[in-house]
């Protein structure tokens, strides 16, 4: 029998704790595949965020650390500066990166840290029960925007990639999505490129923003969540390469 698809070795053979239809599992697989394809498992260090992906080290079989909420880019800085030969990546949600950790990501990029950031934008705080994130879109109902996000008082969705692309120290910024097979393939390409840049020693930070479904807190079935990314999220967060 011919094998057409196999689990990549750096992805552990186990069941995750993620909800049905969650995007984290897909993003994990794409990262694990990238690490194996580039043959960098032996020199990769990953940083798990505080958020639904906090136990990421249970699923990806590389050296990993779990750090305080929002601080992965600072931790990555400490790691990469002292270990320039290692491949350092952080994996962060939109609460982690775009709310509590805004200073850390901006300044890591601003210093042109040679790290790779995978930014999972699911438009809510998943782990704490689906509250508003900076990336929640206008009108979106969350645990803390029961009437839907209102620009007055609750502000506009934060366009992280657009901001990052303005910083000279960010050398590659791309926004992609996990809304279907073609989108997932594009996301894989972007993640791989972001890692490749670090392997080549490119002088700056690369960030891949991934629009990722959260059916549980979007309160819709998984298939609908995929459609919601394509129909609603991408209007606010247009896909494509913003830089590099």
């Amino acid at each position: 029998m011919k094998t057409v698809f196999a689990r990549t070795p750096s992805l552990k053979d186990c069941t995750t704790h993620y909800c049905p239809g969650c995007g984290h599992g897909i993003a994990h697989r794409l990262i694990a595949e990238t690490i194996d394809e580039l043959g960098i498992r032996g020199r990769t260090i990953g940083i798990a965020p505080v958020g639904c992906a906090v136990l990421m080290y249970d699923y990806i079989d590389v050296d990993m650390v779990e750090v305080a909420h929002g601080r992965p880019p600072a931790v990555a800085t400490g790691m990469k500066r002292t270990n320039p030969d290692k491949i350092v990546f952080s994996y962060q949600g939109d609460g982690d990166l775009a709310a509590i950790g805004t200073a850390e990501i901006i300044h890591a990029a601003h210093r042109a840290e040679q790290i790779t950031v995978i930014f999972i934008n699911n438009a809510v705080f998943g782990m704490t029960g689906g509250q508003m994130a900076p990336t929640t879109i206008l009108g979106q109902v969350t645990a803390t925007t029961p009437q839907g996000r209102n620009r007055t008082g609750e502000g506009y969705p934060l366009q992280v990639s657009e901001i990052m692309a303005l910083l000279p120290g960010a050398i590659y910024v791309e926004r992609c999505a996990l809304s279907g097979p073609a989108a997932v393939r594009n996301t894989k390409k972007a993640i791989k490129h972001a890692f490749e840049l670090q392997v080549e020693g490119a002088e700056g930070l690369s960030l891949v923003e991934v629009l990722s479904p959260c059916p549980t807190y979007w309160r819709m079935p998984p298939a609908k969540a995929m459609e919601w990314i394509e129909n609603e999220m991408t209007k606010v967060f247009p896909l494509g390469r913003l830089k590099g």
């Binding site: 498992r41 032996g42 020199r43 990769t44 260090i45 906090v54 136990l55 080290y57 079989d61 590389v62 050296d63 990993m64 650390v65 779990e66 750090v67 305080a68 601080r71 600072a74 931790v75 990555a76 800085t77 400490g78 790691m79 990469k80 500066r81 002292t82 270990n83 290692k86 491949i87 200073a103 850390e104 901006i106 300044h107 601003h110 210093r111």
Partner: protein, 369 residues
């Protein structure tokens, strides 16, 4: 100047340096691989000195965007097995407490220098000892401790640095070097030399890339029922070892003392002068000077409480260390406080007056019947 200082290391000559620069050079001699920091007075000389010297040594210096970032950069470097430190002063150390708690949970070694200034809030930039509680009680959330060293001369500050890096590595803990604005700024002759390291455990837990081995994970989250309690018990057992093995304190002129002054850091220098003067005037006064503030010299003070009449804590705060003295004395003798908060520094005369109120000179004493 720096080259010269360096050249004289081998010969162990005495050089005149301010505390901040001396401790920075001592950290380099102790093998600090990476320094991360954010400027704040009165410790700016450390950051500036490191920005020059670390690159010269081929090591890492990063001026971070905040103390939050600095302590997390320390966290990152430490997680890969490097010797690393940060320094700041009181307001910045408050910001670092989150990171210090995570370091404790993840059992990562780190050295944090706090050149204390007056508080609360922005306070002032005068010397202070008001961060004693924060340093000796952990400071951030959770049941944890940091080892706290309270040097009182620039030389001792220098010697504390190699000790701090060793203790951090041996126990996988944060070691806080608690100095103050005076010690940081004052110039004193010091000998800077490379000290032999203690026997250190291998850092087989470090994140170095899982090459031909299983993955290493550095974490502080323990969700399964009972697992975090188990982890905490392990931490406490480690802290007990520290308490058993690492207490440092100086006892000065304790013989026949009726009043024992307890003071640390710069306050202890002033007390020492007051004790000398008091002795000249015939007053039986001694000094116990904790060098490790955590672990606190409980036994030494408790033993002293069995022999001596009265304890006086002198500190540059409204009274923080005095609580540890009270715990150690455990009601066996009265414990009084002379505290100067908000950047106030006690004078020798002031302490002497206090001592006079508490003692009767030997020659004026009534003969016992």
């Amino acid at each position: 100047m720096i080259e010269k200082r360096h050249a004289c290391n081998a010969a162990s000559e005495r050089v005149l340096m301010c505390g901040n620069e001396a401790l920075a050079e001592a950290a380099i001699l102790a093998g600090c691989d990476a320094y991360f920091g954010y400027p704040i007075t009165p410790q700016n000389e450390i950051t500036a000195y490191m920005s020059r010297r670390m690159p010269e040594e081929g090591r890492v210096f990063v001026q971070s965007e905040s103390e939050l970032a600095a302590i997390n950069m320390v966290f990152g470097a430490s997680a890969t097995g490097k010797r690393t430190m940060t320094s700041s002063s009181s307001p910045g150390i408050s910001l670092m407490q989150e990171g210090i708690s995570y370091l404790a949970g993840a059992e990562l070694p780190a050295v944090v220098v706090n050149v204390m200034r007056g508080g609360p809030g922005l306070g002032n930039i005068a010397p202070s000892q008001a961060d004693y509680f924060q340093a000796t009680r952990g400071g951030g959330h959770g049941d944890y401790r940091t080892i706290v060293l309270g040097p009182s001369t620039v030389q001792e500050l220098v010697d504390c640095m190699s000790l701090a890096f060793d203790l951090a590595d041996v126990y996988r803990m944060t070691v806080v070097v608690l100095a103050d604005g005076i010690l940081g700024q004052m110039m004193e002759p010091v000998v800077l030399e490379k000290k032999p390291r203690r026997k250190l455990p291998p850092k087989d837990w470090a994140l170095t890339g899982a090459k031909e081995r299983e993955q290493n994970i550095v974490r502080s989250l323990w969700l399964p029922e009972g697992r975090l309690e188990e982890h905490n018990r392990k931490l406490q057992a480690k802290y007990e070892q520290v308490q058993k093995n690492e207490v440092l304190c100086e006892q000065y002129e304790l013989e026949d003392a009726e009043v024992v002054v307890v003071a640390y850091g710069v306050a202890a220098r002033i007390v020492r002068s007051a004790v000398n003067r008091a002795r000249q005037e015939g007053m039986p006064v001694g000094l116990i000077r904790p060098i490790t503030l955590w672990p606190f010299p409980m036994e030494q003070i408790s033993k002293a409480a069995e022999e001596f009449r009265l304890f006086l804590a002198v500190e540059m705060s409204s009274g923080q260390m005095v609580e540890d003295v009270q715990l150690a004395v455990a009601g066996k003798a009265p414990v009084l406080l002379h505290g100067r908060p908000g950047g106030g520094v006690p004078t020798v005369d002031e302490i002497l007056d206090k001592i006079k109120q508490l003692t009767i000179p030997k020659n004026k004493r009534k003969m016992k019947s």
